[in-house]
C-alpha cells in the first residue's frame, strides 16, 4: 500500500480497498505466519515469562522471582558444566574439522584412483543419524577390558583406557566422534566451492612457475576464505545445539562431564521440576545463538567485501 505505483490509483479508488495481489500475498503467507506464531513466538514468549517465575511445570500456583533463575544458571555446578562442555565441544570441533577438512578437500580434488568412492565414503560418515552413530561408538569406546579399542591397545601392551567412564576421556570421545562425522561433510562443502575457482588462476600461476604448495596458499586458500567463514559458522551454530551425540554416546556422564545445554534444559524443565530454571537457560541460549548469527553476518559481509 505504501508502494508509489499505487499512488495514482488512490485518487480514483477508496484508500481502504485492498488490491487482489496484496490479498493473495496475505493468504500465501498465512501458513508460515501461523507456524511462526504457534511454534516459535508463543513458546519463546512463554519461556521468557516462566524464566522469571518459580514454576515447576505442573503446579498452577507459582510466583514471580525476578532474575533469580538467571543467577542460578551461573552459580550451579551442573549448569556451568553443561555450558562449559557445550562451548568446548562447539569450539574444538570447529577448529579440528576445519583444519582437517581443508587438506582433505584439496587432496580429494586431485587425481587418484577410486576418487569418487573415497569422496562418497568420507561424506557418508556425516549422513546417518548422530544418535545411531553415538550408540555405535559407545560400544567401540567401551571402557572395559573387552572394549574393542582397549583390545587393540592390548596388542601393543598399552593398559586399557577408561574411555567413557573418565571425565576427560569421555569429553575426548564425544569430540572425536563429532570430528569423525563432520570432517567429510565439510570437506564436501569445500570441494563444491573449489569447483567454482577459475581454472585460469592455476594456469597463470603455472606459467609463473608456482608449485602446488604455493598454489594452495596463494590461490586455493584465499579463494576459499568465504567458504571457510561459512563452514566454521555452520559447525559452530550447529554444534552449540548438540544433543543427540553426547546423549547416546555417554548419556551426559560421567559426573555431567559431557552434559550439554540442551540436555540441561530438558532435565530441568521435565525431570527435575525446575521449569523456571530450564526456561532461563533456554532464553540465555537463544540470546547466545542470535548474537553468534549477528557476528556471522558481519564477518561474512566483511569477508565478501574484502575478496570481491
Amino acid at each position: 500500500m505504501s508502494a508509489s505505483a499505487s499512488h495514482a490509483q488512490t485518487v480514483v479508488k477508496p484508500r481502504w480497498r485492498i488490491k487482489p495481489e496484496d490479498r493473495a500475498t496475505f493468504f500465501f503467507l498465512l501458513p508460515i505466519m501461523v507456524v511462526f506464531v504457534v511454534l516459535t513466538l508463543v513458546p519463546l514468549l512463554s519461556s521468557i515469562y516462566y524464566s522469571l517465575t518459580d514454576y515447576n511445570g505442573f503446579n498452577p500456583e507459582y510466583s514471580i522471582v525476578g532474575l533469580k533463575n538467571y543467577a542460578t544458571i551461573f552459580t550451579e555446578a551442573e549448569l556451568l558444566h553443561s555450558l562449559g562442555f557445550t562451548l568446548l565441544f562447539a569450539i574444538s570441533t570447529t577448529i579440528l574439522i576445519t583444519v582437517l577438512a581443508l587438506p582433505l578437500a584439496v587432496t580429494l580434488n586431485k587425481a587418484f584412483y577410486g576418487r569418487s568412492v573415497a569422496r562418497s565414503l568420507f561424506f557418508f560418515l556425516g549422513v546417518p543419524a548422530q544418535a545411531i552413530i553415538g550408540l555405535i561408538w559407545r560400544q567401540i569406546f567401551s571402557p572395559m577390558k573387552s572394549g574393542i579399542i582397549n583390545q587393540v591397545l592390548d596388542l601393543f601392551t598399552i593398559p586399557p583406557i577408561p574411555w567413557t567412564s573418565d571425565d576427560h576421556w569421555a569429553q575426548f570421545c564425544v569430540i572425536f566422534v563429532g570430528v569423525w562425522m563432520g570432517t567429510g561433510w565439510h570437506a564436501t562443502l569445500y570441494l563444491a566451492y573449489m569447483q567454482a575457482i577459475p581454472a585460469d588462476l592455476y594456469e597463470q600461476s603455472l606459467i609463473d612457475g608456482a608449485n602446488s604448495r604455493q598454489q594452495f596458499f596463494h590461490i586455493t586458500l584465499p579463494q576459499l576464505v568465504p567458504c571457510v567463514v561459512v563452514s566454521t559458522f555452520l559447525i559452530m551454530t550447529g554444534n552449540l545445539k548438540i544433543y543427540d551425540l553426547p546423549y547416546t554416546l555417554t548419556a551426559g556422564g560421567p559426573r555431567n562431564a559431557t552434559m550439554t545445554i540442551t540436555q540441561a534444559i530438558l532435565l530441568r524443565g521435565t525431570g527435575q521440576s525446575q521449569y523456571g530454571v530450564g526456561s532461563a537457560l533456554a532464553v540465555v541460549f537463544t540470546i547466545v545463538c542470535l548474537l553468534l548469527v549477528t557476528v556471522q553476518q558481519l564477518v561474512a559481509g566483511a569477508v565478501q567485501r574484502r575478496f570481491e
Binding site: T25, I32, T107, F112, G114, W185, A282, C289, L290
Partner: protein, 278 residues
C-alpha cells in the same frame, strides 16, 4: 611442468594409497557394525575384526521377530513424508508471496523469518511440550509432525533465492492471460522450481528421518517410536546382546545408505545452498 609432476603416475599411486588407506581406517566402525551383526556374543568379543565364521542371520531374525522395527519404519515414513511435504508447501507458498508483490506485509514477514530462522528449537521445547500436552497431541504422530513445521523457514530460504531468479515475464504472461495467483503458483512456479524442490526435499528428508531430539522428548509410547528411537531403545533392552543391537543398527542404516547412494548429488546441493544462506 608442475601440473604434470603433480599428476604423474607415481604421485597418483602414492595419493591413492594414502587417501584410500585413510578412508578404510575411517570406515572401520561401519565394517565392525556389519560383521558383528552376523556373530555371536563370544565370537564378537574374541575376534572383533575378523569376518564372521558363519554368515549367521539369527540376529536379524531376532531383530525383526516382534515386528516393532517395521512399526518404527512405518512411523518414520509417515512422520518424514508429511513433515517434509508440509514444510515444502508452507515454505514455497511463503516464498511465492515474496516474489508476487512487494508490500509492507512481505517485507515485514521477510525480516521476521530471518530472525525466526536463527532461534534454536531447544529454546521452545519446554513450552511446546506443555502446549502439545494441553491439547493432547503428545505421543501422537501428528503432534510430532507439527513440530517439524518450524523448518518451513529453512525451506522458505532455499526456495526464495531460487524463485527470485525465475524469468518474471513467464509469470506476467500468465497473469495477462487471466490466471489467478494460485494457478500461476501451481502450474507455472512449482514446475519451474523443481530442481530446488528436489534439493530441499532430499535434505529435509534426511534431517527429519535422523532427528532424535524431538521423538525422544515427545514420544514415550512404544508404538509411536521412530527408527532412530527404536535403535536407541534397543540398546537398553538388549544391553547384553550387542550382535543383536548391531543387526538392528544395520537394518536401520540400510535405507539411509540406499537413499545416500541415489540422492548424494541433492544432499551436496542442499548443503551448499544451506551454507550460502547461513
Amino acid at each position: 611442468m608442475t601440473e604434470s609432476r603433480a599428476n604423474s603416475l607415481p604421485r597418483r599411486i602414492l595419493r591413492t594409497i594414502v587417501v584410500l588407506g585413510l578412508a578404510i581406517i575411517c570406515a572401520i566402525p561401519l565394517y565392525y557394525v556389519i560383521v558383528s551383526s552376523f556373530k555371536t556374543n563370544t565370537e564378537m568379543t574374541q575376534h572383533p575384526f575378523a569376518l564372521p565364521q558363519h554368515w549367521d542371520l539369527t540376529k536379524y531374525q531376532e531383530a525383526i521377530a516382534d515386528g516393532s522395527i517395521w512399526l518404527a519404519f512405518g512411523n518414520s515414513i509417515v512422520v518424514t513424508f508429511f513433515a517434509v511435504i508440509l514444510q515444502v508447501a508452507v515454505g514455497s507458498l511463503a516464498a511465492y508471496a515474496m516474489i508476487l508483490k512487494k508490500n509492507w506485509l512481505t517485507v515485514g514477514m521477510g525480516a521476521v523469518l530471518t530472525i525466526a530462522f536463527c532461534i534454536p528449537v531447544q529454546s521452545t521445547l519446554l513450552p511446546l511440550y506443555q502446549m502439545e500436552g494441553a491439547i493432547g497431541v503428545v505421543n501422537t504422530l501428528p503432534g510430532l509432525i507439527a513440530l517439524y513445521l518450524v523448518d518451513s523457514a529453512f525451506c522458505y530460504y532455499l526456495v526464495v533465492g531460487y524463485m527470485r531468479k525465475l524469468p518474471m515475464e513467464l509469470l506476467e504472461a500468465a497473469r495477462v492471460d487471466g490466471a489467478g495467483p494460485f494457478r500461476i503458483y501451481w502450474q507455472i512456479v512449482l514446475p519451474l522450481i523443481r530442481p530446488i524442490l528436489a534439493t530441499v526435499v532430499v535434505f529435509q528428508t534426511l534431517a527429519v528421518w535422523n532427528d532424535f531430539l524431538r521423538p525422544s522428548v515427545f514420544t514415550t509410547d512404544q508404538s509411536k517410536r521412530t527408527v532412530v528411537l527404536q535403535v536407541y531403545n534397543a540398546v537398553d533392552t538388549f544391553s547384553t546382546d550387542w550382535p543383536l543391537f548391531m543387526a538392528i543398527t544395520c537394518i536401520a542404516l540400510a535405507p539411509v545408505v540406499v537413499f545416500f547412494l541415489f540422492c548424494q548429488r541433492y544432499i551436496v546441493s542442499g548443503l551448499v545452498a544451506g551454507a550460502v544462506k547461513g
